[in-house]
Symmetry: C2
Subunit: 221 residues, 2 copies
């Protein structure tokens, strides 16, 4: 059986990515990171998703340099903003770069052939570390710099918009009810941060009902 690692944040995208990897026949190993994120609830979600999918899961605690981004630092998560092309304040410096580096290390230990990541940039191209060029750059780096240079970073959602991701997940029976996308770490999803807004828009466009609860009735439309 071919083995793969999936970076499982606990969000919707990584959940669908795990379902895709599973459907491709991989023996899956999920990896999550406790990096001091405000929305720690996603770590609980990652546990629940891994359990539901019946896959191995580990959470690695990492210490990032002190910073001022809005997911881990002192800035506030913006609400109801217009999502554009600029890099948002929720960008955590080199976060995916650190995550992929760890996954690569683990891939050599367990002999994994692929690292699945839920990166996608169609709806939300503000993050430089979620693009096709970025994934290609990793695969180039692996070829020259790894012992196990046959491992590949795979981003199956890279060309999908949020509605397409949700439709694909629905087809594969992804447990959306267990996912957590909100940047805030409260009881219910806020409905007004970038991540909630994109998720709600995606469900609406996909013609599906988002099974999770939201604080904001207006957003829960």
């Amino acid at each position: 059986m071919v083995r793969a690692i999936v970076l499982l944040s606990g969000g919707l995208d990584s959940c669908v990515t795990a379902c895709i990897a599973k459907s491709r026949g991989y023996e899956l190993h999920a990896l999550s990171f406790d990096y001091g994120q405000r929305h720690k609830k996603e770590l609980e979600s990652s546990k629940n998703i891994a359990k539901k999918l019946g896959i191995d899961h580990r959470i690695i605690k990492i210490e990032l340099p002190e910073r001022s981004d809005a997911l881990t630092g002192s800035l506030s998560v913006p609400h109801n903003r217009e999502i554009g092309k600029e890099i948002p304040v929720t960008y955590v410096p080199a976060r995916n770069t650190i995550f992929i580096a760890y996954a690569l290390s683990w891939s050599e230990v367990i002999n994994a052939d692929a690292i699945f990541i839920g990166a996608n940039a169609i709806d939300f191209s503000g993050y430089p570390d979620c693009t096709k060029e970025y994934i290609e750059a990793w695969n180039n780096l692996i070829k020259v710099g790894m012992k196990n240079n046959g491992v590949r970073v795979v981003a199956p959602l890279i060309d999908m918009n949020k509605a397409e991701i949700i439709k694909e997940g629905a087809k594969l029976g992804a447990p959306f009810e267990l996912t957590w996308s909100c940047y805030e770490g409260r009881e219910k999803a806020c409905g007004v941060c970038d991540s909630c807004m994109l998720r709600l828009k995606g469900f609406k466009e996909a013609g599906l009902k988002d099974p999770i609860e939201y604080e904001s009735q207006e957003a829960d439309r």
Copy 2:
């Protein structure tokens, strides 16, 4: 003043690299990692070197996946082996990849323009993550995947052999007496691991005396 990060392991190469970066006028910030290495003594060395050079220094503790390499795992460090082109058992999966990923994250926080690393592959080409192609792959990845895409990974020793590195260090007044190269973590350097053997050969070829003490008299020639 232009700012740079230097990956400071506590070994000879990273010490010379720090001296080179300093001589180029950078405001230097040193970064070391406690990754469960057998030779923890190098962390003490990194502290002493940073102090001697008068540069900012931090040690980040990282949790690598459990493995069986000879620097952190259950294998023994090989002694008196013929150093060839194969990947040695002291290879720690994706170690430099994780280190550089962290340095990149930090570089965005402190607005550093360069990350200096002591990678070199002339004398010891067994490590895939110490080659010119590997450094180039990083600089390509940075261009497409970082917010601060002007930062560069710089490996000033990449084309030097050990004797040349030592001569360059001597010219810049590198505190060789504070460096630790041995893969074992004992009181004195063993003199017979790959790292000690290369170091001793380098000093011999450079026509200089290695100021540190060795266990093995034979090696201490």
